[in-house]
């Protein structure tokens, strides 16, 4: 990559960060649309989960089970905070790690499958998660976990780095900054992953598993690594969701959500790291905007979706010039 290209990328990143952290809050303040904080937080956390699905696509698998991990992550965080008094900030990575670990066990048998077979099994996963949430006592069945307190403060050496969320005048703004920061970290990390050696190993294995094996790449282990990272992201997304909604139910993440995550990736373009972000934004706002059509909302939404797939079978970002690689 030339210095000029690197400069351009750095500039683009800087612009993006400024927009997200400065321009958007100012604009919302000016327009008195504080409700948008909630919407954008949702977009951010959903894009994190979608990023996980994107990574599974990157190793050549169609993952329609991310909803399961989001649900599990949400519950882990919720239960830790409500029942065990753990701080939200600690519960967040624990939720992610729990999902990653669970995905290792699940992935061991199923990652051998490919294509439609793998997709079908992951579809089942989402239902399993939902039914488990209903059946287990620790998750309070259909009642779900409610009254989850807002995240507390982060204090280090007596200094308050992040104030407790309920001290904010506009609490949704706090959630916005939380989600967006995590989103930036997530996509930044993913971008780095894809452009590193590990990313190339993943790409190799997606393109030709046999050849990758023949050169000594431990294909099963690499697949599980990717799947674990993917599920980690799903869990984190779910945990943020639980914190924002301050509740979580077995129906919080369903098969529809799993399919939506996949849609987000697809719409944004599977070849681009930032695709899920764009896709989530477009689909979420698209759905929201159609709210005014009342009972025709789903009809129009799915109609447009079908049209888009007919016209752009390779995703939204495929509209760009095909000279770039890796977003």
């Amino acid at each position: 990559m030339t210095r000029m290209q690197r400069g351009a990328r750095g500039a683009a990143a800087a612009v993006f960060l400024i927009i997200v952290f400065v321009v958007v809050p100012l604009a919302i303040g000016e327009a008195h649309r504080a409700d948008l904080y909630y919407t954008l937080s949702s977009v951010a956390l959903l894009s994190i989960a979608s990023a996980g699905v994107w990574l599974t696509f990157y190793i050549g698998r169609i993952n329609i089970g991310q909803g399961a991990f989001s649900l599990v992550g949400g519950y882990v965080s919720a239960i830790l905070v409500t029942t065990y008094g753990v701080s939200f900030w600690l519960s967040l990575p624990i939720a992610g790690l729990f999902c990653a670990l669970a995905s290792v066990f699940i992935g061991l048998p199923i990652l051998r499958l490919r294509g439609v077979y793998f997709a079908m099994v992951t579809l089942v996963l989402t239902e399993v998660a939902r039914l488990s949430a209903l059946a287990l006592s620790i998750t309070h069945g259909a009642r779900g976990v409610t009254d989850i307190p807002a995240p507390g403060a982060i204090r280090l050496f007596g200094l308050t780095i992040v104030p407790a969320f309920n001290t904010f005048a506009e609490r949704n703004a706090a959630y916005y900054f939380l989600s967006v920061t995590l989103m930036v970290l997530c996509f930044g990390g993913l971008w780095r992953l894809v452009n590193s050696r590990i990313g190339r190993l993943f790409a190799a294995l997606r393109q030709n598993e046999d050849l990758a094996s023949s050169m000594g790449l431990n294909v099963p282990a690499l697949r599980i690594l990717a799947y674990a990272i993917s599920s980690f992201l799903g869990g984190v997304g779910g945990a943020i969701f639980a914190a924002i909604a301050q509740s979580i139910y077995p129906s919080s993440f369903t098969v529809t959500d799993s399919v939506n995550f996949m849609l987000n990736c697809f719409l944004g373009g599977l070849g681009y790291v930032f695709g899920p972000m764009l896709g989530t934004l477009v689909l979420y706002f698209g759905w929201d905007l159609l709210f005014s059509t009342g009972e025709y909302q789903l009809l129009i939404y799915s109609g447009v979706m079908i049209l888009l797939i007919l016209l752009l079978p390779n995703g939204l970002l495929s509209l760009r010039l095909p000279t770039r690689r890796g977003g």
Binding site: R192, L193, S196, R197, I198, R200, L201, A203, A204, Q207, N208, D210, L211, A212, S213, S214, M215, G216, L217, N218, V219, P220, L225
Partner: protein
């Protein structure tokens, strides 16, 4: 010198079909050994068995005295037995250079974390692999096209790339699957030179081939398989005179089999 690779009573059955039947032979270090036989004789299956992409029904394969049959294919590759593929299997979306760099992975000393965070060791590895890839690519005559996307390369280059990828994995034994297939006389002699040069680097070469002329020219020894059974083994001169081999190829034009 003890054999570097030993195939002992190797048998593979698929349901009712016996693809490979009680085949045994040794491979000496740094030799070029070719496995030949009529189509469908089971040669490719033997390759798959040796590189452990398929597990034997009976029998075993040992490498430097250690049993490798039944291990995971990447493990066998790591031990030093590397195979290339028919039909020029490559990483379609990557450049030639990148493919060869990835194939160096086995040699890396940095951990995956190191690669992610760009540790010093990882960066040194990357540089080293880049240099090594360039060397291998030049060695095989691909220097000019190394930044081309693999899918854009013509047949001949793709074969060479397959070998480059194999070499990058630092093999002690390299299995070449029909390296001369579909080549004209010119290309074949260049390929023969290439294979000899690879042997010159200390690699032991195992070939599966149909092109009899090339096989006769290049091999130290030859194993002949027909209907999954080994029917002959020996130097090119011995094979040429072997009646069973002539019989197996009966009906095939003399020219084609170079006898």
């Amino acid at each position: 010198m003890s054999p570097i690779l030993q195939v002992k009573n190797l048998t593979k059955r698929y349901g009712g079909l016996t693809a490979v039947n009680d085949v045994s032979f040794d491979v000496e270090p740094n030799e070029i050994l070719s496995i030949i036989g009529p189509n469908g004789a089971g040669k490719s299956t033997i390759f798959k068995l040796i590189s452990s992409f398929v597990a034997p029904t009976r029998g075993k394969v040992t490498f430097n005295g250690e049993v490798i049959s039944g291990l995971a294919p990447h493990t066998v590759a790591r031990k030093g037995v590397v195979r290339t593929f028919q039909e020029t299997t490559i990483f379609k979306g990557m450049t030639a250079r990148d493919s060869v760099i990835v194939a160096h992975h086995l040699r890396s000393r940095a951990s995956l974390f190191g690669f992610y965070f760009g540790s010093a060791r990882a960066r040194r590895d990357e540089e080293e692999f880049g240099r090594s890839s360039d060397e291998i690519l030049d060695f095989l005559g691909l220097g000019a096209v190394k930044y081309e996307t693999a899918s854009n390369l013509p047949q001949g280059h793709l074969r060479a790339l397959g070998i480059a990828i194999g070499l990058a994995a630092n093999p002690k034994v390299l299995l070449l699957d029909e390296p001369f297939a579909g080549m004209n006389a010119d290309e074949t002699s260049r390929a023969v030179q290439m294979v000899r040069a690879v042997r010159g680097r200390g690699v032991t070469l195992l070939l599966v081939e149909h092109d009899m002329a090339a096989v006769m020219k290049i091999s130290d020894r030859i194993v002949v398989i027909n209907f999954g059974v080994k029917i002959a083994e020996g130097t090119p001169a011995q094979i040429r005179a072997d009646e069973k081999v002539i019989e197996a190829y009966l009906g095939v034009e003399d020219e084609t089999i170079g006898l």
